[in-house]
Each structure stands twice: as structure tokens, then as C-alpha cells.
Amino acid sequence: MIEIQNLHKYFDVHHVLKGIDLTVEKGEVLSIIGSSGSGKSTLLYCINGLEAIQQGEVIVDGVSVHDKGADLNRIRQNLGMVFQQWNSFPHLTALENVALAPRIVKKLSKAESLAIAEQQLKHVGLADKLDAYPSSLSGGQQQRLAISRALAMEPEYMLFDEATSALDPELVGEVLETMRMLAEEGMTMICVTHEMGFARDVSDRVAYFHDGVMEEIGTPDQIFGTPVSQHTQKFLANVR
């Protein structure tokens, strides 16, 4: 379970997250929508401790992420993250991309980490690309590589930050398909997304962010059918 309590985040004087309260249960798929600059990416970075917070708490499976003594490197293993810019490591093959962290972070043997990597690449449909370098993969393939790299750490949670926004339109589908598959397998997911179809079909709940505030959260039917906040209504009218 991920529990976020009264989370405040500043960049200098810029108040970017203004008291977020949010709980995500095991097995849940939460989509976060909202306009540019509303703090969606920043929230994800605060969840896995890539950004410091100024007030409040983030608790993952009972461990407070921003506590002084928190073992961030351990916590992050449990929180896979996929970024908007597919960040495959260009100097490593697909197999090495995925096998590296299991080997040097989890200290698995070379054989074990390669076996896991191969299995995860197959999982996302890249079985025939094991020895390919990222430069020879399409954007969609690189993004699936990034997903399998995160999965190889066997996380219980996955955080997606607009995983499809930087892709050519014809490549969006394959990545969404992969995310859909994970959701069906029961992965707990927080997906920042602009794909309203995905948010509506796949999520258990949808949250709408506006200017550092979580204005509204509910089932897809509630948010897309009968949004309460004016900002949500306006936002949805514009994306349709």
C-alpha cells in the first residue's frame, strides 16, 4: 500500500504540491490526469524519493520514504519507474540493460540476472531483441525495454510518467497494450497519462490534478461521467 499524507513540495519558493492525501491499495490501478505543470511528475518523483519533500509523508508498505534513515535504494527496488523519455542505456544491449540492476543492486549471479532479463524481455514481446542495442530499436520497443528493465527488479508497484507521450502515434498502442497486460496481471500501478481511453478502460480510479492540488478522485465513470470540479469539467472538455 502507498500512503501519501499531506504532501507539500516546493522548488525554492514555487509551491508545486499543496497538501496531497492519497492512498493506493495493492492491486489497484490509478491514473492521474491533469494539465501541464500541475505537479503529476513531481508527485511520482516524491513517491520514490528522487525528489525531496518539504512537509508530509510518503509511506510504502509501512516504510516512510523520506525518513532520514530510510534505505532509498532498497525502497526503489520495489517501485519500478518508467519515464516519458525512454531512458534505455545506450551503451548496453537490451539484455544487459535489463540484467544490470538485478546483478549489481540485488547482487544476483550473472546467470540468474541474465535469466530474469531474458524472461522479462519475452514478457514485453522483445524476445527477438535480446542482443540489440537501443539505437536499433524503435521508440515503442525502447519504452517496452524500459518497462521490462523495471520489472526485472520484481517491484510490487509501477510508476508510469506519461510513458507514451513522447512516442510517434503509431507506436503508442504497443506500449499501452503492455501496460494493460500488467494491469491484468494484478500489478499495482500509478499512471500519469494523457491517454483518456486507457485511463477510462484500465484504471480502478482516476485522479485529476490542478495546480498542485488533487481536485478530484473517483472511479472512471465518476470522473469522466459526472465530474464535480469545474476545472475537471473544463479539462475533459478540452481533451475530448
Binding site: N48, L50, N73, R74, R76, Q77, L79, G80, M81, F83, Q85, N87, F89, P90, H91, L92, T93, L100, A101, I104, V105, K106, Y133, P134, S135, A146, R149, A150, M153
Partner: protein, 220 residues
């Protein structure tokens, strides 16, 4: 043209010249190793938020890049000598070249670090890697690829620059050439032979570098 070439003395001394060529290679290579370590530190210092560190790095880099290399050697020779610090001719050359290499390489490294997207580091950290692991496994290999050709150029430059050693009395290839030439007065022949040796050394470095690059950077 009434200059008569006499090659025999040069051929007789060829082993001496080749041995001096090895000294050239040695002092250049050493100065590159030291220059690389110092250049890396200078680049990090220039990128750091610490003002004194930045200031120190900028001063070094500016002096190394914008004053004649010969003056830099003289500084470590006669300049320090004036303060009672006497370095051996070998050390003058080594320290001078290292100083110069570090200044040039620092700028290359700095550019390399800035060219690797911040997100590469973030992605590595998000997998649970420590700062050290993310830097050494993900960032530095990419920086190395960016600075590889500039480093090769600097190595060539170090070999050629090391010929300034003859001005401070160190008998690497240029120094030895001058020593032999002045003894026999076959000046033109000796310097021509030395030039050929320099040329061969540089070509070997470039060839090895290309071979290594082909092995190392197959990913693009």
C-alpha cells in the same frame, strides 16, 4: 643547393633516436594518465556549486589553454626554480604536459558530463542503484564515448608538444635529435629522421585508437 646529405651518421645513431622515441612515448603517455585524472577532477570542480573549487578550476583551465605550452614548461622549470624548487628535466616536461593536458581535457569532460541527459542518471537511481553505481556504470561510459576522440587528439598533441622538452634539456626524441645534430652538424638529416619517427608514432596512436573505438563503441 650545395648541401650534401650524409645519412651514415644518422643510420649509425638510429638506435639512439628510437630509444629517445620511447622516452617521448613514455612521457606523453604518463602525462595523459595524470592529465586525465586531474582533468576529470577539474571538470567536476568546475561543475560543482563550491565557489573556490570553481574558481581554482577556471584559473587552471584558462592558463593551460590560453598561454603557450612552452611558457608552461618554462614556468615549471625556471619559474619554480626561482623559488628554489628545482625539478629534473624529466619532471619539468611531465608536470608541464600534465598541466596542459588536464586543462584541455577538463573542458572536454565537462562538455561530456553535460551532454549525458540527467534522466539517464535518474533512471539508474530509480532502479535502486547507488549514486556511485549510477555514475560509474551509466554516466561515465557515455561520457567516455563523447570524449574518446578529443582524448585521442590530446594524446597526439601531447606527443608533439613533448618536443618542447629540448628547450629544458630533456633528451627525448627532439632533445636527443638536437644533441646529436649539434655534435655532428648533420642538422637537417637528424631532424628529418626524427620527423619521420614522430609521424610513425602519431600514426600508430591514431590506428590503435581507431581499432579500440571499433571494439568499444559497437553500439552505434
Amino acid at each position: 643547393m650545395d648541401y650534401n646529405f650524409h645519412w651514415r651518421p644518422v643510420f649509425n645513431k638510429l638506435p639512439d633516436l628510437l630509444e629517445a622515441g620511447l622516452l617521448t612515448l613514455e612521457v606523453s603517455l604518463l602525462s595523459m594518465v595524470i592529465g586525465t585524472v586531474l582533468g576529470l577532477l577539474l571538470a567536476l570542480a568546475k561543475l560543482s556549486p563550491l565557489k573556490p573549487a570553481r574558481w581554482f578550476a577556471i584559473t587552471w583551465i584558462e592558463l593551460a589553454r590560453n598561454t603557450p605550452a612552452l611558457f608552461q614548461l618554462f614556468f615549471f622549470g625556471f619559474g619554480l626554480g626561482a623559488f628554489g624548487w628545482h625539478l629534473s628535466p624529466f619532471l619539468i616536461v611531465l608536470v608541464g604536459l600534465s598541466f596542459n593536458n588536464a586543462g584541455y581535457l577538463a573542458e572536454n569532460f565537462r562538455g561530456g558530463f553535460q551532454a549525458v541527459p540527467e534522466n539517464q542518471y535518474r533512471a539508474a537511481r530509480s532502479l535502486g542503484m547507488t549514486a556511485f553505481q549510477a555514475t560509474t556504470r551509466i554516466v561515465i561510459p557515455q561520457v567516455f564515448k563523447i570524449v574518446y576522440h578529443p582524448m585521442t587528439n590530446q594524446m597526439v598533441w601531447a606527443v608533439l608538444m613533448s618536443s618542447l622538452a629540448m628547450m629544458v634539456g630533456y633528451r627525448e626524441l627532439a632533445g636527443e635529435t638536437q644533441f646529436l645534430a649539434s655534435k655532428t652538424f648533420r642538422i637537417f638529416e637528424y631532424f628529418l629522421a626524427a620527423a619521420v619517427i614522430y609521424y610513425v608514432i602519431v600514426k600508430i596512436i591514431l590506428g590503435l585508437s581507431r581499432l579500440l573505438a571499433w571494439r568499444l563503441f559497437r553500439y552505434e
